[in-house]
């Protein structure tokens, strides 16, 4: 019964990477055969790192990371979980003091063969061998077939046939498949297998036939094939090389789901880990775990639920003709019994248990991660030495080197490596200047090592981290801040993901004030984009969408507010107004400005809107020229008419002329408005006067002293006897002297020229004012 593979030569153990059943079977086979050496599919450069696997500070999941020394971005991972057959084999060998070796094509070659940029994992055949076998057995899902046939076998699996029978049967099946499909559409396998055969030969010379090989089931027939050494050598001739380094890095269960290194990503590492760890009754134990998790989340789950779930899972397996309930059956049972048919708690179960949050650990003695090398290299090229003492650097972003330095620092901050802190810029408020306070603390090395899981270069790691943060962010403001940081760090690849997250959050956020809070930051980001010459088209589109949503949602949000809420919203409206102004120049948002004006118009005219907001909207429209002075005066008259509650009217005044600069000047220049306020104020009843006084005081006390004095003088003088406020030009109505004081007006001309950047007029003669287009018009 023990097939040709077992008796005639080395023990070939074909496995599924990350298969708990395979791992169990490998362990049983190793215990039974007790080989003198264990050969494992993996890069041989890793041999030196193998003893680290015995270190007790090493906790799977971990990954063997190979990277090109000169190009850390070119890297490959061989992840191993506690339930990976490879890991089990390594640990067995180390525990029994048997040498273990990696026999796959060295990373030196495999990395050289991988074109940078193509993310093709070295070990995935284009034909899915398991899929073909499963199809033959009548299964539509290959994973399920493998689970039923291999992974779900009881621990004593194989029974009387011995622990090796399954491997022999699998080898036979694979041989048949390889005959049908050849290299499975993956020509590089031939090179890899040739190398593995050579290694196998070397080992046989040394140890005889007492050898166990743990490799992907697909490779078993190729290793058993009889070829000549010369033929294998010929295959390996001229394979390119690149200088590589290897190390162990901590891995997570979540990342096991990704394709890399061994090629086979798995969707349910937590479930597999459970199958591997559970000594018996896996379904019962699993259901108990799930119940525990749901109870922690305050769901009422009794023992009766667990019992019923186990029964339903068993029943489902029987209906579906499976030997044991698999993940699908248990999940269906949990949904029907414990989650009341809902997928929401089920998502939690999937996230926490089926995938799991297990985090691996690697001892400090493992070699440095490539991220550190990349950082070192960038520090050299940018002449930015890590120093323990604090120092400040000023970066001028218009210079290439400084811009690169800024990018590096921003990327490191994203990765949680706090080398530099932004300091408030001195003197200049321009967006092209940044001030950083740098200080390299020794523990930052640890941070770099930790950040190593995100990627092998600063750029790729920061991109991956930003993307992950965007996906997991909960609030809109969080994502907006992230978008800003991405732009600063110039993470072009992360931007689409962040923008998508931003658009999604914006779409689901029902609170307009959140949206309004986010918009100004985005508009600001667009300006950064200008300075740094990054592509901000997507950002612009998202910002325009945000503005659109604000236009829709703002009017209903402005009613029924208390005074604090109204005041807060007024500030937001100011921010949005500025942002819309910026946006309509930067993005193709047709008609956005007009729609915003229409919204303001609606706010200004609606009675139920809080006074301060109505006043503000009127003012903004007036400033934009969307509202004539007459119309503004009409609205003011309405707001200040006797029927309005005095406090509401005072709030309107605060909104209209308070806060922002220039509020007072408007009253100075338009005496009709001042007259309206004056008339209203004198009409306020004595009892109500004390109520409006604090509001008015707040409004008017914010004015500059000069403006206050002029207003006072105007009020003392009383209504202008000169009739209509925009009188006959020369007879200025607004408290200024009649006519222009030409020499005094000329005195500002040199400064104006300087500000406007006109050609310098070195000798501005005091008399040549006639050809100036600058005149003071009322």
């Amino acid at each position: 019964m023990t097939g040709a593979t077992a008796s005639a030569g080395p023990l070939l153990l074909g496995v599924r990477h990350h298969g708990p059943g395979s791992a169990r079977a490998v362990l049983a086979a190793l215990e039974a055969a007790r080989p003198r050496v264990v050969l494992i599919e993996g890069p041989p450069e890793g041999d030196a790192l193998l003893p680290l696997a015995a270190d007790e500070r090493m906790k799977p999941p971990v990954a063997l990371l190979a990277h090109a020394v000169d190009d850390p971005g070119r890297a490959a991972f061989w992840p191993m979980a506690a339930f990976s057959p490879e890991w089990v084999a390594i640990r067995w060998a180390l525990a029994h003091e048997v040498p273990a070796r990696f026999i796959d094509l060295p990373a030196t070659h495999s990395l050289a063969l991988t074109e940078p940029g193509t993310d093709e994992p070295p070990g995935s055949p284009a034909v899915d061998p398991i899929g073909v076998l499963a199809g033959t057995a009548g299964y539509d899902d290959p994973e399920r077939w493998w689970e039923d046939v291999v992974e779900h076998r009881a621990p004593e699996g194989g029974g009387a046939a011995g622990p090796l029978a399954a491997f022999a049967a699998l080898a036979e099946a694979m041989t048949a498949l390889r005959e049908a499909y050849g290299d499975g559409g993956h020509p590089r396998d031939a090179v890899r297998e040739a190398y593995m055969r050579i290694q196998l030969r070397t080992a046989r010379k040394e140890f005889g036939d007492d050898i166990a090989v743990v490799c992907g089931a697909w490779h078993v027939p190729a290793l058993a094939a009889r070829t000549t050494l010369a033929a294998d050598r010929a295959l390996l001739k001229g394979v390119p090389k690149v200088r590589t380094e290897l190390t162990w890095v901590p891995w997570t269960h979540r990342r096991l789901a990704r394709h890399s290194g061994y090629g086979a990503g798995i969707d349910s590492p937590g479930w597999y880990g459970h199958l591997f760890d559970a000594p018996d009754r896996p379904v019962e134990r699993w259901m108990t775990k799930v119940a525990g998790l749901l109870r922690d989340e305050d769901r009422f789950i009794s023992s009766a639920h667990v019992i019923e779930a186990v029964r339903l899972a068993g029943g489902l397996a029987a209906v579906r003709g499976r030997p044991l309930p698999g993940l699908t059956e248990t999940t269906d049972a949990i949904r029907a019994v414990m989650c009341e048919g809902s997928d929401v708690p089920l998502a939690l179960v999937h996230d926490r248990l089926v995938v799991g949050e297990t985090l691996g650990e690697v001892p400090d003695s493992a070699p440095a991660v490539p991220l550190q090398r990349d950082l070192n290299r960038q520090q050299r090229t940018l002449r930015l030495k890590p120093e323990a003492s604090e120092r400040e650097v000023e970066l001028d972003l218009r210079k290439e080197t400084d811009a690169a330095r800024s990018r590096l620092l921003h990327r490191l901050r994203l990765l949680g490596i706090g080398w530099g802190d932004r300091a408030a810029g001195r003197g200049s408020t321009g967006t092209f200047r940044e001030t950083w306070r740098l200080r390299w603390e020794p523990e930052l090395h640890v941070r770099v090592a930790e950040a190593g899981v995100w990627g092998t270069t600063v750029l790729s790691a920061a991109t991956a981290k930003a993307e992950a943060e965007a996906v997991s962010a909960t609030g809109l403001a969080e994502v907006t801040a992230l978008a800003e940081r991405c732009l600063l760090a110039e993470l072009a690849d992360a931007l689409p993901v962040v923008m998508k997250a931003l658009a999604d959050r914006a779409a689901l956020d029902a609170d307009v004030s959140h949206l309004a809070e986010a918009l100004p930051a985005l508009a600001r980001s667009l300006r950064y984009g200008d300075v740094r010459a990054t592509d901000t088209a997507s950002l612009g589109a998202v910002a325009a969408g945000l503005a659109e949503r604000i236009c829709v949602g703002l009017p209903p949000a402005c009613t029924g507010l208390d005074s604090d809420g109204a005041e807060e919203l007024r500030l937001r409206i100011d921010g949005v107004h500025t942002a819309v102004g910026l946006l309509s120049g930067a993005v193709p948002a047709d008609g956005l400005r007009e729609r915003w004006a229409a919204v303001l118009g609606r706010l200004a005219a609606r009675d139920t809107v809080a006074g301060v907001i109505r006043g503000r909207a009127t003012r903004l429209l007036l400033d934009e020229g969307q509202l004539t002075q007459d119309e503004a005066a009409r609205l003011m008259g309405l707001a200040l008419s006797p029927g309005t509650a005095p406090t509401d009217a005072a709030a309107w005044i605060e909104g209209f002329v308070g806060g922002a600069a220039g509020g007072g000047m408007l009253l100075v220049h338009d005496e009709r408005l001042l007259g309206l306020i004056d008339a209203w104020l004198t009409g306020v009843r004595a009892s109500a006067f004390t109520d409006v006084l604090p509001l008015l005081r707040r409004t008017f006390s914010a004015y500059e002293p000069g403006v206050r004095r002029t207003l006072g003088e105007l009020v003392r003088r009383g209504p202008d006897p000169g009739g209509p406020h925009r009188g006959t030009g020369e007879a200025s109505p607004s408290g200024f002297g009649p006519g222009r004081d030409e020499p005094r007006a000329d005195a500002v001309v040199p400064v104006l020229r300087l500000l406007l950047g006109l050609d310098p007029a070195p000798e501005p003669a005091p008399h040549d004012h006639t050809d100036r287009p600058l005149g003071a018009t009322a």
């Binding site: 339903l312 489902l316 019994v337 009341e340 658009a503 779409a507 689901l508 029902a510 829709v552």
Partner: protein, 370 residues
């Protein structure tokens, strides 16, 4: 009150025959081909019941028509639940074939889908326990002969599948009567000092409306006795368009509306709008949306289109146009005048306005929303 016996009606004359009569041939063929183990008193094995619902072809070539188009997983869970001693609760928004599935399950499992309690706000306790034949009670005193069993009681004593429709509409105290039945599997008759014990094969299928949970929410004690299966809305737009247009045709012909020559495009649009708002994401998966508070079920899409057809037939030119459905859609979407209106406006401005070929629809919607 209670149903003592179903009046025998010749199946062919019934306006709507029972499932076990309408599909008698299929059930017979399945029973003949079914060689898998059957739970006690089941007419078919669980596997055959799944096949009956989902359709398939038997080894002898008999084609079993699909009764339910939806995930196989759900049907398997439902059938397996019935094979255990747990009761089955089918949840879903209106129009997701809950009753239909429950009827066919009962027909396939027990060969009888008529042991039915229709849940209403006025359903009395007698409907789930037993009542009395008062003439007999007065003449002969309390005895089993004077007792009128409920469908549930009959199912218990005969080992059949009972059905309870609209469980959440039944008053809470009447719901509680089910707890003993489902956990102890006995129905005490204190007046006689007797009890009815359920024999093997008894089980219960209840249906309830997802959105109506608040009407008479199940107590956790009762809830715990059920395995819950949520029947989803149609999975793909094509399925839904198909369902809507088929139903609209049926309703339209019964109302004698003239057939709309070019309605399909508009139906597709209505279905798209409903699906997008319901799922909270556009069909291309690019843009997320807020969902309104209404259900926006397939049934509502059907009524919007029917309504639009009536408008087009009586007041328009007989062709279903955007304007005919716009008002209906607005009514279906905006249930809560404050929050839903914002949702709808956002949808109009961010999605509809930009979409190619939707300009006329956008204008029509703007007109009715203004």
């Amino acid at each position: 009150m209670t149903v003592s016996a179903t009046t025998a009606t010749v199946a062919s004359e019934a306006l709507r025959p029972h499932a076990e009569d309408a599909f008698a041939d299929e059930l017979k063929a399945l029973a003949a081909a079914d060689d898998r183990p059957r739970p006690v008193r089941w007419k078919l094995s669980p596997w055959a019941v799944s096949t009956y619902l989902l359709g398939g072809t038997l080894p002898d070539g008999t084609v079993i028509t699909p009764k339910y188009v939806g995930p196989r997983r759900l049907v398997e869970v439902a059938v397996t639940t019935l094979a255990t001693d747990r009761a089955l609760l089918l949840l879903g928004v209106p129009g997701t074939a809950k009753t239909w599935v429950s009827e066919h399950l009962a027909a396939a499992v027990s060969g009888d889908s008529t042991l039915l309690v229709q849940g209403t706000a006025g359903t009395p306790e007698e409907a789930v326990r037993y009542g009395w034949n008062y003439a007999r009670l007065l003449a002969h005193g309390p005895s089993r002969d004077a007792l009128v069993p409920s469908p549930v009681m009959r199912a218990m004593s005969e080992g059949m599948t009972a059905r309870v429709e609209e469980l959440t509409r039944i008053p809470a105290d009447v719901q509680d009567a089910l707890i003993t039945i489902l956990s102890e599997k006995t129905l005490p008759i204190p007046e006689l000092g007797q009890e009815v014990q359920a024999v093997r094969g008894f089980n219960l299928i209840a249906t309830a409306n997802d959105r109506d949970r608040g009407v008479n929410e199940l107590s956790s004690a009762l809830r715990r006795r059920f395995n819950t299966v949520v029947l989803p809305l149609p999975a793909t737009p094509d399925d839904e368009v198909d369902i809507v247009s088929r139903r609209v045709d049926q309703i339209g012909s019964s109302l004698d509306l003239p057939a709309a020559p070019d309605g399909l495009a508009e139906i597709r649009r209505v279905v798209t709008v409903f699906r997008e708002l319901r799922n909270g994401v556009t069909t291309d998966g690019r843009t997320k949306l807020k969902s309104p508070s209404g259900t926006l079920s397939t049934a509502e899409a059907i009524s919007v289109v029917t309504n639009g057809l009536a408008l087009a037939a009586h007041f328009g030119d007989g062709i279903l146009r955007p304007g005919d459905v716009a008002a209906g859609i607005l009514g279906a979407v905006v249930r809560d005048p404050a929050a839903d209106r914002v949702v709808w406006q956002e949808y109009l401005e961010t999605v509809v306005r930009e979409r190619d070929g939707w300009k006329d629809f956008y204008r029509a919607c703007r007109e009715v929303s203004a």
